[in-house]
C-alpha cells in the first residue's frame, strides 16, 4: 500500500533562515511526487513535482525538493524563508492515474 508521512506537524523558523520540510513515502515503485502549499484562506497550490530524472527539482518561489530513492524521501527546501512563506505544506504522491495520496501537512510559521 502507498502512504505519505510528514513527521513534523509544525515547524517554526526565523525569517532569512534556511528551511527543510520532511516527507517520507511508501510505494513499491518510483511514484510521481508533489509538494502543495495552502496559504491562509486559500486552496492548495502546486509548488513543484517530480516524475523522473534529476533528483533535485525546482519549484515556485525558490523552493526546491530532493528525491531520494534509497531513503524513500522527498524533502522540501528553501535557502532563505520570508514571512510570506508561512502556510501549510503538503507532500503527495500519485501511484496511478487520477489519484493523489497526501501527507498530513506541516504548518510552517516564519517569525520576523
Amino acid at each position: 500500500a502507498q502512504s505519505v508521512t510528514q513527521p513534523d506537524a509544525r515547524v517554526t523558523v526565523s525569517e532569512g533562515a534556511s528551511l527543510q520540510l520532511r516527507c517520507k513515502y511508501s510505494y513499491s515503485a518510483t511514484p510521481y511526487l508533489f509538494w502543495y502549499v495552502q496559504y491562509p484562506r486559500q486552496g492548495l497550490q502546486l509548488l513543484l513535482k517530480y516524475y523522473s530524472g534529476d533528483p533535485v527539482v525546482q519549484g515556485v518561489n525558490s523552493f526546491e525538493a530532493e528525491f531520494s530513492k534509497s531513503n524513500s524521501s522527498f524533502h522540501l527546501q528553501k535557502a532563505s524563508v520570508h514571512w510570506s512563506d508561512s502556510a501549510v505544506y503538503f507532500c503527495a504522491l500519485s501511484p496511478y492515474y487520477n489519484v493523489l495520496y497526501f501527507g498530513s501537512g506541516t504548518k510552517l510559521t516564519v517569525e520576523p
Partner: protein, 114 residues
C-alpha cells in the same frame, strides 16, 4: 480565467441528517474533478474522481457518494451523516490525470457533525 466555487463554506449538521456539498468549475470544459476530505488533524484523503459527466470513481469508502450531473458540477452527498464525517472537504479539478498535471483546489467546506 477558470474559477472553482464550493458551497456551502461551512455547515453544522446533526448525526443522521442528509448532506449535500457542491462544487462548480467555470472556464474549463471537461475537467477531471475530485473530492478530498481531511479529518481534523488528519491526512487529506481523496474520496472520488470523475473524468466525465455521469461517471464517478470511488477511491476511499466513507459512506459518502458523489455525482457529476453536469460537466462543470460535482456533488458530494450522503443520506445519513456520521460523527466521523466531520472535517474539511475540498473539491478540485485538473485538465489531465492528477498525477500528470497540476490539480487546482477550491477553498473548501468545513463540516461539523454534532
Amino acid at each position: 480565467a477558470q474559477t472553482i466555487h464550493q458551497w456551502p463554506v461551512a455547515e453544522i449538521k446533526a448525526v443522521g441528517s442528509p448532506l449535500s456539498l457542491g462544487c462548480t468549475i467555470k472556464g474549463k470544459s471537461s475537467p477531471n474533478l475530485y473530492w478530498y476530505w481531511q479529518a481534523t488533524g488528519g491526512t487529506l484523503q481523496q474520496l472520488f474522481y470523475s473524468i466525465t459527466v455521469g461517471q464517478v470513481e470511488s477511491v476511499v469508502q466513507l459512506n459518502l457518494s458523489a455525482s457529476r450531473p453536469k460537466d462543470d458540477q460535482f456533488i458530494l452527498s450522503t443520506e445519513k451523516l456520521l460523527l466521523s464525517h466531520s472535517g474539511f472537504y475540498l473539491c478540485a479539478w485538473s485538465l489531465q490525470g492528477a498525477g500528470d498535471t497540476e490539480v487546482f483546489f477550491g477553498k473548501g467546506t468545513r463540516l461539523t457533525v454534532v
